[in-house]
Symmetry: C2
Subunit: 116 residues, 2 copies
DNA sequence: CAGGATCCGATCGGATACTG
DNA sequence: CAGTATCCGATCGGATCCTG
């Protein structure tokens, strides 16, 4: 049930649970997490919109990562009681702080990943 | 032979090769890469020292990531002709720029991953 | 539309053994 | 010491099908 469990197998926790920075690296060091956050920075998005804008992510992977982000309190899920159903995902205020990380990556990217 | 090939299977390139930012996210969105860079920020390190300080990374995984970092020009390998052999890995000047990313993650970590 | 359930191949990554 | 090679189980993640 726990997706990002604090009780990881002993070896991994040695790499991850040692310090806040390492914990963050283990969490953030995931392509999908970063891509999701990057897209949500522009504003709330619906599940399928997110899915399509990310270029072939499976619904399984997407919903799993969204749950991880929710558990950590970085993303908030909001479901509207409509038919057909509408669900929006938005960054929480603490989630917004991840924008700085994306920004740092972006600056690095412009210098070192453009037209290379 | 190519570890981080530019010719990825079509689906993945759609998520990664679209923009510099996405490329960077795909590269940086890797726990091991981030952990290695984090450790090398303090200065050059030898293979086994790196290995041990990272808490149970296999030599296979470590050497593979180091190669990826070398291919991108973020890490430089320097072998000394001694016995027993000594090899040091250091961040290149462009690799040092990844320090800003780590710094951003660290600031985020202190706020959101301490004693949680 | 938003996602859960299942199946399954592909990849990852550790353990181990070996080499210069 | 600094890796490479191999084996193999575990995990990942896509495809597909199904539901409220």
């Amino acid at each position: 049930m726990e997706i990002f469990d604090e009780e990881l197998p002993a070896e991994i926790s040695q790499a991850c649970a040692t310090s806040p920075l390492r914990s963050a690296i283990c969490f953030i060091g995931d392509m999908w997490i970063l891509l999701i956050v990057m897209h949500l920075l522009h504003g709330p998005m619906r599940f399928n919109a997110l899915r399509e804008s990310m270029g072939h992510i499976s619904s399984k992977t997407l919903s799993q990562r969204l749950k991880m982000l929710e558990e950590k309190g970085f993303v908030q899920r909001e479901a509207f009681l409509e038919i057909p159903p509408r669900v929006e995902y938005r960054l929480t205020s603490t989630g917004q702080e991840l924008g700085d990380v994306i920004k740092a990556i972006d600056q690095f990217a412009e210098k070192n990943f453009s037209a290379k």
